[in-house]
Symmetry: C2
Subunit: 336 residues, 2 copies
């Protein structure tokens, strides 16, 4: 491919080669209208055969669009990454980048907890687990950037379209499992930020406690990451010695809690059954490995990206139902 | 922050508030010139205090830059992702996105093996492990996009600036370890694509074989992913029964090989010592876990991103020396 070749091949050449109108090629390239898959394949073949490269910058000027979408996380880096730098957000990112490119957009990966709006602009954004009055969501909305979230925005009657994470289902799966494995007294560690996952987990836990036990809830500082889980677990052992099961919503906190139990000689699962939400590296590499749920993040990412393109295309959308989480039992809660 | 607020705050207001010239603010925002950290902090504080949002699109039109860099992988999706969708590329991605944003750029994550140039444009790119005559690298160069690679570009006297991955060091670490653990006859699985890591590993292996054994090398099809490792291992057991150690450069192939050894009742490590390169999820979750090397990908990503900004700033660069890999011994090669 040389610059000369580029000069020779124009959109109209592609249209002729594919046997369609230039308008159809433009619709296929710019996602401005639906083009059936078979026609789109013919256009793609023509683009390949003729070595056609659209003038991206000219198109961006004409359409006022960047053909990029961004992935942001409301959670701070202390939670969202951790030792291995891999997790929830990165699982979403790869699938979203593949889906975006299939829809002729590129994915901008924004580091957890950061606001990139003084640096770049993009056409639309996916935000992970917004909190109440989320500053990132507010910044996106003020900038007029269409947005969907993974997890519902709490504290509003008009949430932006979201993919449901079913945190209540998750909480009940884990609590029932802990109970079945002999947990008579269960404590809950949640984050101190008002996210739908925290709020729904706490509500499900309080309901579960009704007539069973007094709720034992610790609200942990996300910014402190693993250390917050460690210190809360040390406190728990002192303050509530009757507790023999622990639901930790955030896996980073769970890592810290497990460390505290090891240090104090508290046997997992015999003396303390532990369960968390995200079945990521932390859950799997924990000693013992942690009971968790399969959140089907591939499908979550797929739905979020498609929802975003619906919103971008001006289709009025409420949200997506999201996949139902499934229990993954490991040695932290059951003698296997 | 409302649109009105935005209209009121201009770059000159930020300059006044920070007590610097508008040119200095512009240099800090656009990375056009070095601004010392203390001054930059004052400017950042002023931006925060005044709720200043630069007009990104106007800046992009003026500078002809997008303030984005892209991360691409030359490896196909069959290799670069796998079941868990997390790995080498995603470890690099998070660090690169953080480094990019600190330098007022955003990171575009391109799915492995894909060319995004008919969709978006960006100022510069990091390409993972280019092959000889790499089509992605050629496309980037034809588009005039500055580029650095992680791993040297093979087959050229003028490689683009790169971060060294020390594949020869890695091969020797693993081969010496296998030998020490009683491996008398070692085979090698490498990819069929000419990447510097494959080429250097093969060369180191051939040297190691000198005077010891006949080389037993299988060249695997990257597109076939895990299945390629599985079939090569089945073949190896039939064709070279004397082999009792296996170095598999690509972890995806190693997963397949381990499956074949389990199916055939070949005991790891007693009958077959296995080692791979990348100490990722596949290595850790393998049963038994795989001996590998810590490639210090955080540092690799940091060096690559800084190198790219040097190149973007017009500084002539050869490359970065890259961190030295360290052996991580696990149960696949040693009775622990």
């Amino acid at each position: 491919m040389t610059t000369q070749d580029n000069k020779r091949t124009r959109l109209i050449d592609v249209a002729r080669h594919a046997g369609v109108s230039p308008g159809t090629v433009s619709n296929a390239l710019n996602q401005t209208r639906f083009v059936d898959p078979e026609t789109r394949q013919r256009i793609d073949d023509a683009i390949q055969a003729l070595n056609y490269t659209p003038n991206i910058r000219a198109r961006q000027l004409r359409t006022g669009r960047t053909n990029t979408i961004a992935l942001l996380s409301s959670l701070p880096l202390s939670i969202a990454s951790g030792a291995s730098k891999l997790g929830f957000m990165m699982e979403i990112a790869l699938t979203a980048s593949i889906m975006a490119l299939e829809n002729r957009h590129a994915l901008i990966l924004v580091p957890p907890g950061k606001n990139p709006l003084d640096t770049v602009t993009f056409d639309a954004a996916i935000l992970l687990e917004p909190s109440e009055n989320d500053p990132q969501l507010r910044a996106l909305q003020n900038a007029g950037i269409p947005c969907v979230t993974i997890g519902r925005t709490p504290g509003t009657n008009k949430p932006v379209p979201w993919v449901e994470l079913h945190s209540e289902v998750t909480a009940n799966l884990l609590l029932r499992h802990l109970q079945k494995e002999g947990c008579g007294h269960c404590a809950l560690f949640v984050s101190n930020r008002q996210r739908t996952s925290s709020l729904e987990t706490e509500a499900a836990y309080r309901l579960w406690c009704n007539g069973r036990q007094t709720p034992v809830i610790y609200y942990l500082d996300e910014e402190k990451g693993e250390a917050a889980g460690y210190h809360a677990a040390r406190q728990l052992l002192l303050e509530a010695p009757q507790v023999n099961g622990l639901l930790v919503l955030v896996d980073t906190f769970a890592s810290g809690a497990v460390r505290a139990f090891h240090e104090t000689g508290t046997k997992i699962p015999q003396q303390m059954r532990v369960a968390t939400r995200y079945d990521g590296i932390r859950a799997r590499e924990s000693k013992p490995p942690l009971t968790a749920v399969n959140m089907h993040l591939d499908e979550v990412a797929r739905q979020a990206t498609m929802l975003l393109f619906d919103v971008l295309a001006g289709r009025p959308m409420a949200g997506c139902d999201g996949p139902i989480p499934e229990l993954v039992v490991r040695a932290s809660s059951k003698i296997l």
